[in-house]
Subunit: 188 residues, 2 copies
């Protein structure tokens, strides 16, 4: 039951937004009552947290690989390859990505959540550390940030303009674009 609740919540939170989705609505879609949900989750926020941790787990793999390198420039060099893998992960979990992009404020609420603070090595923090790394040239860090925005923008963006393009073809095109973006002219 717990998984079914999470699946329905993911769907509704992504479609309508976290705040506009009531527990009553989730329960109705599952054919149970609101009170039944409270047996499995103490607060509404806990449902969102559990879904957030799924993305957390997804991204951890990529960023752990980067942080295993001890030099900033090494990390910057490895970035294109790691991003390729990250693109695949995100395209394979479009719905999870959509949940986060469409509910940034719900994400902020988790900052005050004890369980979330315990799970410290957050994707956002890891990404922040990387993009703030002082031993990577600014121009390159900006382009790394651009590459993330570009990938996310295409996957979720423009309101499904590329929905008739296969995931594989889209991934390949985005990979090529990211590669050109990440090559900084005049840098060794």
């Amino acid at each position: 039951m717990r998984e079914r609740i999470l699946d329905v919540a993911l769907e509704l939170f992504s479609e309508q937004g976290y705040e506009k989705t009531s527990l009553r609505e989730i329960a109705q879609k599952l054919g149970v009552t609101k009170a039944a949900l409270y047996f499995h989750f103490e607060h509404k926020e806990d449902i969102f947290l559990e879904l957030h941790l799924r993305l957390h787990a997804l991204g951890r793999e990529a960023f752990d690989e980067l942080e295993s390198l001890h030099d900033g420039q090494q990390r910057a060099d490895a970035w294109p390859h790691v991003l390729d893998h990250f693109i695949d992960q995100l395209i394979g979990n479009r719905d999870l990505l959509l949940l986060h992009v469409r509910n940034p404020n719900a994400l902020d609420q988790l900052a005050h959540n004890e369980r979330h603070q315990a799970e410290n090595e957050d994707i956002q923090q890891q990404m922040g550390r990387l993009l703030a790394s002082p031993d990577i040239p600014l121009a390159q860090r900006v382009r790394m940030a651009c590459s993330i925005g570009a990938v996310i923008g295409v996957i979720i963006g423009a309101g499904g303009v590329f929905s008739d393009v296969s995931s594989a073809e889209l991934a390949a095109l985005v990979r090529d674009a990211a590669r050109d973006l990440l090559f900084v002219p005049g840098q060794p």
Copy 2:
């Protein structure tokens, strides 16, 4: 007063999100009561709409210039130059952009708003028409979408990592990156 309401609303909607910001909160920050707001705006949604139309006005200039060109390939060629101008506009109105990125569901609500439907030539629609244009190669359209995501991602993204970089320098770096991104290898 009307402008003061809009300014406070822009601030709170961006910080906390549209749904989580009550009219009572806006009124309190202005030193008036909730009821006073209803003299200036009939519904809460109308406040958000008015703010949305500010961005609408901003983007219209750029997209009108593109749509004045009658050929798809001409539009694609003009895109880098138009994007440059668009980057300046967005950086100069960071708060307005943040409002929209952080409240996608509030934006969706406007679709059912009559006044919004009347204001038809919407940015999203114009952007959609451009990115769906059949006489621009798919690879190029994907890169155009990437460029938008890259720009927005850097301006609002990564939680203020580049906040110590001046707007002018950041804009220049993003412009360069976008230019490299938009050049499609093997295309005339």
